[in-house]
Structure formats: structure tokens, C-alpha cells
Point group: C2
Chain length 244, copies 2
């Protein structure tokens, strides 16, 4: 399926595509990275998310790069912003532009401690994080897929410019129950492909395999392998050789 750019007519769709090409996601994320680094931004853990206080300029960059969501305005030119655990750890560990601490109490003081905290909040965090970072590093925009009954949905640019193209399920060839609750039976495959098909998305399954590697430290992420598979409905009529 070709990307579906947003717009009222063919011309405005073309415009959306041209704007996206002019300002690629990699460039926007770099700008966000520099800005967060410069301001030495620090987020704090708040149960299953990370909160940070940002100024208008960063609010704009976070929105353009599609990380998190604004919560509310605190004071003039200062906003509360909320990141998912995957988003926060990506900015912290992969882009090295965000510090995270445990709030008022004694929180994690280094990457290993933070990693353990995140795993304690979400057992399958290593799998989801590997999938999230795998897609982000390829410059896909990654958002929650809860609305469509999948783990993530991915866009090739900002959701204001383009419809998402894939619904993502994270599974593993490792025999790990924390991440293998989906696609165990055909009815689930039928349900998922039909639902995603009805909203013009393709099911992308990311098998994150630890292959016996530990998950005691985020350094282990390097050894995890990611297999990509798309699953589509097959219509015998459509695929059959055409008669002459």
C-alpha cells in the first residue's frame, strides 16, 4: 500500500508529501535532541510514564517529532509534558538528550538502575523497547496502537501529514509469556488483519529475540535480534493468474 498523505484534494496531499520530504523526521529529531541537550532537561518517573517541564519551543519540537503529549500549562511559557516509558528511555538512552530521575525519592541513578525500574513497571519492557527503538532508528514515527488493538502504529511522518501505514505487534521466538499473548490462534490473526485492513493499515509483526542473551542491563539490547514480518489477508480470486 502506498503512503496516504493527508489533504482535502490531490494538490494538498502532494503538498503534504513535499513538506515532509523537505523536513525529514531525522532532522526534526536532531533538532529536538540538541534543544533538550542544551537545556539539560530532566524528566521524572511517575508510575508508568515520565513527566517533564518544558518551554514553548521544546513543546513545539516534541510535538513535531511526535514524542509524548502535553498535559497542561503550569505557568507562562512552561508546560507539563508526559512521555511513555519507551519514549523517555529512547531520549535518555539512545539519544542521550534526557536525564531521568526518580522524583523526590531516591530513584535510579544510572542506566542500569533505570532499566531495572522500567522492567519492574512493565515486565515485557525489554521487548517493547527494542521494537520501539528499532522503528524509531529507521525514522518511523511510533505511537500507541491501543485504539486499533495492536502495540504500536507507525507513520512515515507526522500524523498531521500522513495516515499511519502499519499496526505493530511485538512478539518473540523466545518462550516468554510476557510478550507472546497474541496471534496464538487463527481467529486472532483474522481479527487483527481484518481490523487493520478496514483502516488501511498492514499488520507488521516484530519478533524480538533475545536468543538467550540476558536482560540485566540495557547493553544487552545490542544482542537482541529483530525479525520483521508483515501479514496480509490473501484473497485467492485476487491473486490467481489471469485468464487470457
Amino acid at each position: 500500500m502506498a503512503p496516504r498523505w493527508k489533504g482535502k484534494d490531490a494538490k494538498s496531499k502532494k503538498d503534504a508529501e513535499a513538506e515532509a520530504l523537505k523536513e525529514p523526521m531525522s532532522k526534526i529529531v536532531s533538532q529536538l535532541q540538541s534543544s533538550l541537550l542544551q537545556s539539560d532537561t530532566c524528566g521524572f518517573l511517575s508510575d508508568n510514564s515520565v513527566c517533564l517541564a518544558v518551554q514553548a519551543e521544546q513543546l513545539d519540537l516534541l510535538d513535531k517529532a511526535c514524542f509524548g503529549r502535553p498535559v497542561r500549562k503550569v505557568e507562562k511559557d512552561m508546560y507539563w509534558f508526559q512521555l511513555t516509558l519507551e519514549e523517555a528511555f529512547y531520549l535518555c538512552y539512545s539519544l542521550k538528550c534526557l536525564k531521568i530521575n526518580g522524583g523526590a525519592e531516591s530513584g535510579p541513578s544510572n542506566d542500569d538502575e533505570l532499566w531495572h525500574y522500567l522492567k519492574s513497571k512493565k515486565e515485557a519492557f525489554p521487548f517493547y523497547y527494542k521494537a520501539y527503538s528499532h522503528l524509531r532508528m529507521k525514522n518511523w514515527v511510533v505511537r500507541s496502537g491501543a485504539q486499533y488493538g495492536v502495540d504500536f502504529i507507525v507513520y512515515r511522518h507526522h500524523p498531521a501529514r500522513v495516515h499511519s501505514e502499519y499496526g505493530v505487534l511485538v512478539l518473540s521466538r523466545d518462550n516468554d509469556d510476557s510478550v507472546n499473548g497474541r496471534l496464538r490462534v487463527w481467529s486472532d490473526v483474522q481479527c487483527t488483519t481484518r481490523l487493520l485492513g478496514s483502516v488501511a493499515k498492514t499488520l507488521l509483526v516484530l519478533y524480538v529475540n533475545k536468543n538467550g542473551h540476558c536482560d540485566e542491563s540495557p547493553l544487552c539490547l545490542e544482542n537482541y535480534a529483530v525479525e520483521e514480518r508483515t501479514i496480509s489477508r490473501w484473497s485467492p480470486e485476487q491473486c490467481r493468474e489471469r485468464s487470457i
Copy 2:
């Protein structure tokens, strides 16, 4: 949700409902039962289905009662008809109006042997059959739910007269992997309720619990318990107390 009778306008919908009331499903199934008994009909096992040869009158009754599907015309006034394993066993074991044999080779010669054969073809057959017969005995029409990513869909009358109201998943509180591949994680619940919601159906989960009872003979079916649960999406806005 109220039943959605089929028709172009309000009047023809009313007519469909009136016709269904005049000719309830229990009556149609009784007619089919008498007809099959009279003709001493015998089906034979063909891998994952049961085939039978029927005449035009029975073809009509099978269609009206929503069992199976016609395959093709064999000769004048004689048709091949195909039943699912659940449908065939229901006619054979619960309604006692169909004999089933193993075709040319030595097949099952009594209910116990047939039960073992069906379990060998479909490991979770006892669970699915209990769910199927549970709904049929309450005069629901039960059809395959493959199209909607569920095990069954149920109609309150013939699908020509009314839209199906429930999508059914068969699960068990027994720790049995053959039947517990669905609804293990939230994303699956979201996927299923969203898909069924989009086609105006409600998710009905039937938990079939053997409670330690054996499954060596179809007599055990009597001891299986069926728990019924419907699952719907909850919208906080819709359900919130109205302000005055």
C-alpha cells in the same frame, strides 16, 4: 443492542420480525429433525466435515434451520451437503436424527468412537461442541465467526431475516492450551471489541469449564459448565452521570 431485522425500510423490517415470530427457529429445527429421522439419513466423515446426500425438501429445511452448506447437485433432486463437525454431532448426538459413519473404511460405530474421532481431528472439539450445543439448545442460530475473527457468530433467526448480534469466543477456566489462545492481553480485547463494535455485534465469551470432568465420552458433556460473559467497550463520557 436491539436485534437488527433486515429490510429496506421500517415496514419490511417489521415484516421480517413478524415472520420470524410466526415461524420460530425451534419449530423449524423440529421439522428438520422429523424429516431426517423419517428418511434415515446418514452422513459420512470427510476429514474436517461431514457430508450427506439430501433431497430438495431436506436441502430447504437444512437451509431454513441454518445447518451446513450445499456443495453441489449430484443428480435430479439430489444434492451433496456439507456440515461442520459441531453441526453434524449436534444432529447426531443431541437431536438423534442423523447417523454418521466413517465412509468406505471402518469408521466409528458408536457415539464414543465418533467422539474420539472428532477429538482426534480437532483437539478442542469438546469445548467448541459444548458452546455450540449450549447456544443451539437456546434456539440461537450458530454460524462460523471466521470472517470476524471469532469462533462463532449467533443470530436470533435466519441470517436472511436478521443481522447477527453476538460474536462468540470459546475459552475455558481450565488450564487447557487448546482453547485458551484468545484474550490473554489487553490489545486482543481492544482488537476484538473494536472489530465487533464496527459491525454492530457484542462480544460474548463462553467459558466452558470441565471442572476436572473427563472427556472420554460425550456423556461427560452433561457435567461441563458454561459461563456467559459479554464484553463491551466502555466510554467514560457516555456513562458519566449527566450534569443537570
